[in-house]
Every structure is written in C-alpha cells, then in structure tokens.
C-alpha cells in the first residue's frame, strides 16, 4: 500500500507549470530556491524574475556590521580557510536576495582564476571577489579594466615585476589567452607572440604599493593598485594590427572590439549557465556545442556594448536555456552543492560559530575557493566527480537535508504535513522532489524511494521521519548532483 489518502495540494496548477522552469532558472542564475522563494517567483512570473535577478543592486546586501561583530577575524582575514569561509558565508547570505550577484562572482572567479597559493594575502583576494560582485554584470570592458588594476591579479601574474626596461609578459599573455580572447577560434590563432609582448609593454608601471604578506605585528592591510608613470613604457606599440602609444586601457579597448573576445565570453557564459562545453584549451579547434546559441550571445555582446547583463538577459530568455533538455544538464560545482544546500536548509543566515567546518566541505569536494589549481581555474563538468568527492557530496547533502533542526527542513516537513491528511508514500516522495526544486528522478530511482517510504509507513514510521529519510535519499541520488 503506497497511498492511504489523496495527495495533498502541494502545488497549484500554475506553480506546477512555472515551478520547474523557475527552479531551473534559479539553479543556474543562483544557488537554487527555497519553496517559499519559488512561490514568490511563480507569482512574479518568469520574465519579471529574470529582470529581478539581473538587478541585484536594487536590494540590500548583507548587514556588514553584524558580520563584522561576530566574525571579527574576517575584517583582515589572515588565513586561506578563513577566506574560503567568508566567501561561502557571503554567497549563502546573498543567495536569497542577490543570487545572481553571487553566481556571477563565482563565474568570474573561475574564469579569472587567481589563487592564494601564490597571492598569500587573503583580504586582497576577497577584495577581488567583491570586485566581481560589483562589476561582474556590467561592461566586460570595465571588468577587464578593474581586473588589470586588481592587486591580487597583479601579484598573481607578476605584473609588479613588469618594468619598462624589463618586460614580464605573464599578465599580458594570460590576459589574451585565458581572460579575453583565447588562443584561437575556428581553427585560427587569435593573436601572435608579438601581440603578447606589446600588451605586456602597455601594462608596464601597473603595480601595487605593497606586497607585504606578513600578518605580524599589526595584522594585514589589503594591497592597493598604483600606477607608476616613471616605470611605464610610453613608446609606440603595435597590437592586434593597431599602432599607437598604447597604455593598458587602450589594449583593453582593442581586445574588447575583437570577434574572438565575443566568442570567448559567449562560450564561457554558455558553459557556466547552460551546459558543460569542451575545455577552454580545446576551443581553438573545437566548435561550440550549440553554434546558434553562441552566435546569439556574440551578437548581443556587440549590440549591448560588451554588457554582461544584456547577454544574460538574452540567454535566460532563450529557448536553448529554457528547454527541458537543458535542465539538470550540468554537474553542480562543489560551491553550488554547499551553498545551495545551506540556502535551502536556511543555515548560517545569521552569524554563528561553526561555519568554518561547513565551508571546508567545498575543499573536500575539490573546489578550494580562492585557491584554484592553476590560472586555468577548475576543470568543470564530470571532472568535479571522483569517488572521494562523491562521498563527500552525498554525506554532506544527506546530513543537511535530514536535519529537522534546520528551519528550511522544518518548513518542508510542515508544508507536507500541513493538510492533516494521511500522506501516502508517493505523496511524500513527489512532495519532497517538488520542494527540493522540482528534482526529476529516473523512474526506477523514484520507484525505489516510493517503495522504501511505503515500507516505512507500513512499519508504523511517523510521516515526519519518512519525509526526512526521503529527503536524505533524494540528496543521495545521482540526479541531485546535477543543476
């Protein structure tokens, strides 16, 4: 016996239509949504929700004074774990009101991968993430201009050692290869070695005023950008076919005008928000998985004046994004797993001790935030998964989803049991799947969960206990690892 009474009215007809699509949108443009949030998104409608997401600046951010009061060590963060913790806390804290702000910061952190393994100055790294929050949805040109002035990036790629009489080409090369154009597209190279050298010359004198990494005796103070005109090579340069006495901003202007840059940005956005694509180093000779989608994004890149928000508006409203085949097509990154779970269960929305241990789950799942494995960033998609990280994912999610002390889980339980009717096994499983974000299980997996719930109910288990166990089991499925 799997159903002892009629199913509770979990979803209205409208919610059942819009809910799955909006849950998909929020998994990609944010870190998922709680059932109450999904209700409000359904009321707002898809198009209005997209606009709401695209403008996080209209809503208040976190209460910085409260964060500072309780997490006093964050103001001048002094260790890599603390920086990771703060990043997870902020992403979770903003996941309700400003989800896309956090998601775009995570996106650019993956593209412009900078790491504490070398930078060794946590607050300076955290300031870079804040810069992504502030500029990540705006003009790509402005974003690159900020990136070129970012002290963590300058130190990461040695531009503080890039002098007019002794070029260090590290930043100039990666700016072209990994941050804006890529080595090539459609089988052709996008730039030459001479372009790398000339770009490096344009950025001579772009440095920082302090690279002290010692925290003793006074604690740490974030580094600052400094332009040293005396160390800048102001001679004529030829870059991507144009000649002039270019400074760094001129090089960025030229870069942003290139079709290769439109392609590069579009593929990155598609890879992060739509579906896993080929690894970046393969892009020169591997065409996009969806050329029409990329062409649409490239067109919007130029039409909007390199505006990321405009590109995302096109993307979120495109059929290729909304289609059912796009849903659950990406492997969640560890940060999506951890932050998405914390947001769903409602934990750490106000400071309390213990956030470090939770945040470190990202590291255990192979994403050591603020410390990517290299300047290439993390390899995504199926490469997130190995036997160790899979165990971490399942254990973490199952523990959190099965904990009724969490307000978000309490809310799910109460919602499912609110009607007072007797709940059948299928009602419980389907209700949990819906409230976890309209998760879709393979038929055999769903049937197994229904059978297990039925057995528990027949054995006299309380509905709440069956619900909690079902939540744990859903969190343990293969399907739950996809966004």
């Amino acid at each position: 016996m799997t159903a002892v009474a009629s199913a509770p009215a979990i979803a209205s007809q409208q919610a059942a239509t819009d809910g799955p699509l909006l849950a998909h949108l929020l998994r990609r443009a944010g870190f998922g949504a709680t059932p109450a949030e999904l209700d409000s998104y359904c009321q707002r409608g898809y198009d209005a929700t997209v606009e709401w997401l695209l403008h996080p600046e209209y809503r208040p951010g976190l209460d910085e004074d409260i964060i500072e009061r309780y997490y006093i060590d964050w103001k001048e963060s002094r260790n890599i774990e603390g920086a990771l913790t703060e990043t997870v806390y902020r992403m979770n804290g903003n996941a309700g009101a400003r989800p896309l702000q956090e998601k775009i910061a995570l996106f650019w952190h993956g593209v412009f991968a900078t790491g504490l393994a070398k930078v060794l100055h946590e607050k300076t790294m955290l300031n870079q993430i804040d810069m992504f929050r502030q500029y990540g949805l705006g003009s790509f040109r402005e974003l690159l201009a900020q990136l070129a002035r970012d002290p963590a990036m300058i130190f990461w790629l040695d531009n503080n050692f890039n002098h007019k009489d002794a070029i260090n080409e590290n930043w100039g090369r990666e700016l072209l290869e990994l941050f804006s154009m890529g080595v090539g597209m459609d089988g052709q190279a996008n730039y030459t070695e001479d372009d790398v050298q000339e770009a490096a010359r344009a950025f001579t004198g772009w440095t920082i005023d302090d690279d002290n990494v010692a925290s003793i005796p006074y604690g740490k103070t974030p580094w600052r950008f400094r332009y040293d005109a005396d160390d800048h090579d102001d001679g004529a340069k030829t870059f991507l076919g144009e000649t002039g006495n270019f400074n760094g901003d001129d090089v960025i202007d030229i870069i942003c005008r290139q079709p290769a840059t439109a392609r590069f940005v579009s593929r990155h956005i598609y890879n992060f928000f739509v579906a896993d694509d080929a690894p970046v180093p393969a892009w020169q000779n591997t065409p996009p998985a969806d050329p029409e989608a990329i062409a649409l994004l490239e067109s919007e890149y130029f039409r909007s004046g390199y505006n990321i928000r405009a590109m995302l508006r096109v993307l979120f409203n495109a059929d290729f994004f909304k289609s059912e085949t796009a849903r659950f097509a990406r492997v969640k990154s560890p940060t999506e797993v951890v932050v998405g779970t914390l947001h769903l269960v409602g934990d750490f929305k106000f400071p309390r001790a213990g956030v470090l241990a939770t945040a470190l789950e990202c590291r255990y799942m192979n994403q050591d935030l603020l410390n990517p494995p290299s300047v290439e960033g993390w390899h995504t998609g199926k490469e997130w998964i190995d036997s160790g990280s899979m165990v971490e994912r399942i254990n973490f999610v199952a523990d959190e989803l099965g904990n009724p002390a969490h307000s978000g889980i309490r809310s799910i339980v109460d919602r499912l049991t609110a009607g007072g009717e007797s709940l059948g096994a299928a009602d419980i499983v389907d209700g949990c799947l819906e409230l976890l974000g309209w998760v879709i299980l393979r038929d055999d997996n769903r049937a197994a969960l229904v059978a297990q719930a039925a057995e528990a109910l027949e054995g006299g288990a309380a509905p709440e206990q069956v619900i909690l166990n079902t939540l744990r089991m859903i969190g343990s499925t293969r399907e739950y690892q996809f966004a």
Binding site: D65, I66, E68, R69, Y70, I72, D73, K75, E76, R78, N79, E81, G82, T85, D209, D210, D211, N212, A214, S215, I216, P217, Y218, G219, T221, R224, R352, A353, L356
Partner: protein
C-alpha cells in the same frame, strides 16, 4: 623636540598617548583580535582574544604587566565547562575572580585571575535569566553583575553566582529599548551605561533600570557609529569605543563629548623584538604610505578600561594591541 611625535595628545589635549602592548600572535606575548581588557586585583592587565576558528589555541586570556611584560595566559577552546569559543567580555568581581562571557555557549564562566576554572552558569533562551549571546559585563558597586543579553535586547542583573535579580529592556529604538546592545559600565553611584549598538547611542539608567538619558555623541561632530566597549572613570567621565568611527569618545557625565582618542601607537616591546629579527618586514611596512595609519591609528577599538591612576587601556582589536593613554 621629538616629544610631540613620541607622546602625542588626544584631539582636545586632555589625554596623552602613553604606551602600547601587543602584536599579532596566536600564543605567548601578543594578542589575536583582543575584544576585552580588564585590570586584575594583582595589577596585571588581562586581555581576551577572540582570534579565529583556525587558531583555537589563540582564543585566550593573556596576562601581562601594565609595562608590557608577558606573564601568562589561559585558554581552552571548546564548549565544555571551563572552555570558551566566542569570548566577548571579561570582568573582575569583588571576589578577585575573573568572569568571562562566551556568546557561543551563552554562559558566564568564572576563573581565578591565574586562569583556574571555578564554575559557570547560564543557558540559552529568552526566559528570565536565560541568555542569547551575552556580550558586555560589568560589576556594580554592590557586587552584582550586569550582563548585556544582546540578542534578547535587554540587560540582566545577576548575583555573582548567576541568580537573576532584575532585567530591563526590549527590542526597539525608544528610551529603554535596545537593538543588539553590546557594552556596559557602571559608575561609582551605580548608574548603568549601555552601548546600544545598532541604535548608535549610549543609554544611561539608574541602578534599577530606569531610563535617565541617551547620548549619541552628535555634539562632537559625527555621531556614534556602532558603539561597543564602555568604561567610566572615578570622575564620571564616560569612555565609549566608537567602533565604526575607529575612535574612542570621551564624554562628560552629562554625555557631552569632551575629547577624542584616535590612536597614536608606537611600536610595542613585543613588536620591536619581532621587527628587529625580521628587518625585511619592517622595510616593507615602512615602504608603503598606507602603513603609517596602520601602525598608529585605532582599527575597530572594541573595549576600554580605566585605572585608578588615570590610565586608559583601549583594545585596538584589528591591530592586535592595547593602546594606553594617560590623563594629561
């Protein structure tokens, strides 16, 4: 001719920079995010470090002379009796023992001045006598203990053993109401001052909790911004850590701002020893203009204590030191 540089005066000239104790350290001589400072009956300065969860051993109470000689420390990161994680305040009772508030376990622990654990009381909740993130503490002249029960937006008065005697306050911004209060001090007459943190003011009450006045510091220019640590000296002067303005406001008993301390730190003995052994770091610190402010000024002063002989001890939290002023 270097007197002005070495012994600078406060804004109104009523106080003179005297000395500094500290450097960032997870153990031994040094502090890590000092949040409270108290003078023990043995004349030693006791400084509570909040530190961070990566350095549990750095969450501790350090003991040193007023002259900056390290004497010892005690710690015990955890939730068991005698341990603490989120220390917020320390205060000495008339029994000579040190009382410590931990807003993680919501309880008050008692230690000897040397750090031997004697007992603890307090439990989480919003009922009478229960606590939700105790922050400031101060002993009244009658030996009772005032505890700021921060997330319950109230002040509770206990016996030193933890028996509830009285409570006042509720959430809000009106007279006698609080929004996440933090610090507390009591003057010689028993009047109670509470830093009403998110209302950016200090409120003054009579010993029974009756509202007397509120001070927002606006007569001195910018008003208070998230005030926390408080102290009152023998003349009734009120010292307010004006946390987000990175200064200490000194007020008359009527709440008028009469002086401002901004931090004039020199190099502490402990820091001098470290820098002498690491000249490369000192060279980098001296190379960047921004570090001049770093070395001298307050950065989130969190607690203040005054001695009978006119010394003012300010826990300069994010610079991991205690700056000392003397009444001029």
């Amino acid at each position: 001719m270097t007197t002005v540089v070495e012994y600078p005066l406060s804004v109104a000239g009523l106080y003179q920079y005297h000395d500094v104790i500290g450097l960032l350290s997870g153990g031994g001589p040094g502090f890590s995010g000092p949040v409270s400072v108290a003078l023990g009956p043995d004349g030693l300065l006791h400084v509570a470090s909040r530190a961070n969860p990566n350095q549990p051993e750095a969450v501790r109470v350090s003991r040193c002379t007023v002259g900056g000689d390290f004497v010892g420390e005690f710690c015990g990161w955890g939730e068991a009796p005698g341990q603490f994680i989120w220390v917020t305040a320390i205060a000495f009772g008339p029994d000579g023992n040190l009382y410590l508030a931990d807003e993680n376990t919501h309880r008050i622990s008692k230690f000897t001045a040397e750090g031997r654990f004697l007992g603890c009381w307090g439990e989480f909740g919003a009922g009478p006598g229960q606590l939700n993130r105790p922050s400031g503490m101060a002993f009244a002249p009658d030996g009772t203990l005032l505890v700021v029960d921060s997330l319950n937006d109230r002040v509770q008065r206990f016996t030193a053993g933890g028996n509830l005697l009285a409570a006042w306050g509720e959430s809000g911004a009106g007279p006698g109401e609080f929004d996440m209060p933090w610090g507390v001090a009591v003057d010689a007459g028993g009047a109670v001052y509470v830093s009403d943190w998110r209302n950016d003011r200090v409120q003054k009450f009579d010993a029974g909790g009756g509202f007397i006045a509120e001070f927002d510091g606006r007569d001195g220019g910018d008003g208070l911004a998230r005030p926390n640590g408080l102290a009152v000296d023998g003349d009734g002067r009120i010292y307010v850590c004006d946390w987000m303005n990175d200064r200490v406001q000194v007020m008359s008993a009527s709440g008028r701002v009469i002086d401002t301390l901004i931090g004039h730190s020199g190099t502490s003995k402990w820091a001098r020893t470290f820098l002498d052994a690491n000249p490369d770091i000192e060279e980098k610190l001296n190379a960047a203009a921004q570090n001049i402010e770093l070395k001298r000024r307050f950065y989130r002063p969190t607690a203040v204590a005054v001695s009978d002989d006119g010394l003012v001890f300010v826990a300069d939290c994010y610079r991991h030191r205690v700056q000392i002023y003397r009444r001029a």
